[in-house]
Symmetry: C2
Subunit: 486 residues, 2 copies
């Protein structure tokens, strides 16, 4: 089922129901997608708004505290383009791409920051990607790449943060202390814009210097970086990806003349004349696809611009493959408007993201954003929530990190120190404390009950060991609580 | 389906097929189960042997290197009793309970070492348990509890190792360098022997001083130990357990007069007149049951008696809930005869075993033991296997530890040092190296292919953080390799 069919198909209750209206919406979305102008996107939103029908609030565990507003929801569409993304950072003060009401739907295109590992497949012929990755002798489509200094040797922003994040989306009325609920309604791969690769999507896996394996290999050179390009079926007929080829990173000279001996930051164009491709790698191996967003969250309060790499209490680069279609996230709002953004799309990832990346593959997601006001929280399961909480069809998933809020905990040099101080042991400690809090708060258990239950029925896994602030997730089945409602 | 029906039911091809023969076997098993005499157990085995039919070797991934012997397999039954268990240690030189051929089946009763937390439910009326846990002013049914000194202050063996392990089973012809394959054919809970609790099984969860949570609690006293007693349905009609009550550990005086202010080692009888029971804990909560064996493996070569707590390259106390019915384990044989034993039965456990224990619940398992001789291994996927490998219906699961072989790596004081030196970070490092080896060896991948695949399709989880040598498991789906056979 295509994205458009999903959003506004005949079986939907929140869009146009006639073929003519459907064609109109499709055209608007096509226009928005091709455009680089923020205005065009907002017009796209406005057009759907004009035809908006009542969208009933879906039912979920925490519906009682949701702010439903007027009961009418609007559907916005945000194409990925140079002026609709922030590259490598969250920012509380960035100009919002769009402002929405609680309950509104937003379809958001996201681009993988690794697209330039094979620009022929992942950039060429795709106007949105071309605008973001544009780079000639004089100009970059998005100049700032990271939260670092603009005069950094490796390029503006210094690569202190790497993810192309679409947004921010401002949520009207959101204030610190509120909770933002984000429902992932749909996720689809972004088709290649290159006619030579019609009907296919592609992704890159970089076994990079920030990977857990780096320097600990059997074969020489131990400090090598290897890119593997994967193909993903866009039609949805195949639920697996396959590898196409791999190559070792060789020093790349960017259009400004700076040489990158290693992957200083993803997005440096790789000149395929300088690399040696190994075809037929991982032959006959089928990688199950688990499309999800590696980086999604709200803006932190602690700094104007925050490196997108370390996840934190406001979410961000959690890198949990369970954050896909059908999942719901709950984030504590830290700044006015919440300032939601999303990027780092993945076709598939394993728990730990061992080599530093997933199958990094552009995706488009449809989200419903629901605000839970602070005053409505006491007595509900969202009271005191101070970490990103994930709900799937079957499970609650809590995210622990080496530092629950590293910006607040590590002091003035937090943005650097976090990359040296992480451990899974610390993240396990944090996950334990969060799960205890969750069970005591949402299920009314005593501490002794919570501790026993955690040991016999909660599974702790390693989310990632490559994002500075390492992660451990704790999974508890909803079916454990059959008689407690909620 | 009951254990007996499973083993020798009308649909089985390896047992008696007439009702009369079936009744005979049942009677033999009942006799064996009631007996404390090793002889009776061996008779039980011999009886089944007499009626043994050809049992075809089942098919599995590594069948090509299996030693099938005569093609006739024997089925043994080992009741749990004072003279069929080792309490708290593996030993290469212990007298075997039985010697079997490759391909033979063994049904083995296992007792939880926590049964004395509620002896009324888990010991009373059960002759096997009563023989093991017997303890009066002059004598203990099993005196040595652990690999420590016999004159230890807390009791003989010093509690240096805690699991009641049934065995060892000697496998004829097994030598160091071989691989022992252990198929778990069936696992059933052990019914309470107390008529007042007919048709039910029980388990204990101890949130103990060796738990990850200990000292890190919200409420005082932070260094408390709490026992929770769970009820498990023995008929198999319910797939969940429920809590009955909990109590705080209070100093317990054992029959020899030694006071145990904390849980020096499980198995000290708890005088229920000295504790305060909290009824109705975890009300309405249903714990999914995942019956499995926490401790199972072959004897290490490094010492005569090895503490059963830290898992090692020969298996042992891996504490992975996936080691249940339908699973197959592959262990590197370290000593002549392999010397297989099994204990630490669990009704359910979460990944991490956070508070120190699972639902510790006596179980009976049926196993098939298959020897793969060293000479047959080259060129097969079991070549170079130097760690415990788990195969389930869908997955391969590899076990990493803080120290892959702590006895060899940590030197003369290894048996103590291991309890101070563990970390999940180290176990993750070991799991990474083992999964890389597995993918390169069994799937013929290059190192670069293996590293990429691990990052996008292998899930790393936290097995346990409470067994001295902490564990991280790596899970890879078999379906990833559709065209590779095996």
């Amino acid at each position: 089922m295509s994205l458009y069919e999903h959003i506004c198909g005949p079986s939907c209750n929140h869009g146009p129901s006639t073929p003519e209206a459907m064609a109109d919406v499709k055209e608007e979305f096509q226009v928005a997608r091709r455009s680089f102008l923020r205005d065009a996107m907002v017009v796209g939103g406005a057009t759907v708004t004009a035809s908006a029908l009542t969208m009933p609030m879906g039912r979920n565990a925490f519906a009682q505290s949701a702010q439903t507003g007027s009961g009418l929801a609007t559907h916005y569409y945000i194409p990925a383009a140079a002026n609709t993304v922030l590259w490598g950072y969250f920012s509380k003060s960035a100009k919002p791409v769009v402002e929405v009401n609680s309950g509104d739907f937003v379809t958001i295109e996201t681009l993988t920051h690794h697209a330039n590992d094979d620009a022929e497949r992942m950039v060429k012929g795709d106007p949105g990607a071309e605008s973001v990755f544009f780079w000639d002798k004089t100009r970059r489509g998005v100049d700032r790449r990271g939260a670092g200094p603009m005069d950094a040797k490796v390029g503006a922003g210094g690569g202190e943060g790497v993810h192309v994040c679409t947004g921010p989306v401002r949520i009207k009325g959101a204030e610190p202390g509120d909770i933002l609920e984000v429902r992932i309604i749909d996720v689809v791969p972004r088709p290649s814009g290159n006619p030579a690769h019609k009907g296919k999507s592609f992704g890159s896996n970089a076994a990079a210097w920030w990977g857990f394996h780096y320097g600990d290999t059997l074969t020489e050179p131990k400090q090598r970086e290897v890119i593997t390009i994967y193909e993903v079926d866009t039609t949805g007929r195949r639920n697996w990806a396959r590898a196409l080829y791999n190559y070792r990173w060789t020093p790349q000279t960017d259009p400004f003349g700076v040489v990158h001996p290693t992957i200083d930051y993803p997005g440096v164009p790789v000149d395929h004349r300088t690399i040696k491709k190994n075809e037929g790698v991982l032959k006959n191996i089928r990688i199950p696809v688990r499309p999800h967003f590696g980086t999604m969250g709200v803006a932190p309060a602690e700094a104007e611009m925050v490196n997108s790499i370390p996840p934190n209490h406001t979410g961000g680069n959690i890198d949990n493959w369970r954050i896909g279609k059908g999942a719901t996230l709950y984030y504590p709002v830290a700044v006015p408007g919440a300032m939601f953004s999303v990027g780092d799309p993945h076709a598939s990832q394993g728990d730990s993201e061992l080599c530093g990346t997933a199958i990094e593959c552009s995706l488009t997601g449809t989200f419903q954003l629901i605000l839970h006001k602070k005053a409505s929280l006491p007595g509900t399961p969202l009271a005191e929530l101070n970490y990103p909480l994930l709900e799937t069809a079957d499970d609650w998933v809590l995210h622990g990190f080496s530092y629950a809020n590293y910006l607040a905990e590590l002091g003035p040099n937090a943005k650097n120190d976090i990359f040296a101080k992480s451990s899974i042991d610390k993240a396990m400690r944090d996950a334990y404390r969060k799960m205890r809090h969750f069970l005591m708060t949402t299920q009314g258990l005593s501490e002794d009950e919570a501790i026993s239950l955690m040991s016999i029925a909660v599974d702790f896994g390693i989310t990632q060991v490559v994002d500075g602030n390492w992660g451990v997730h704790a999974v508890v089945k909803k079916s454990i609580f059959p008689a407690r409602g909620g």
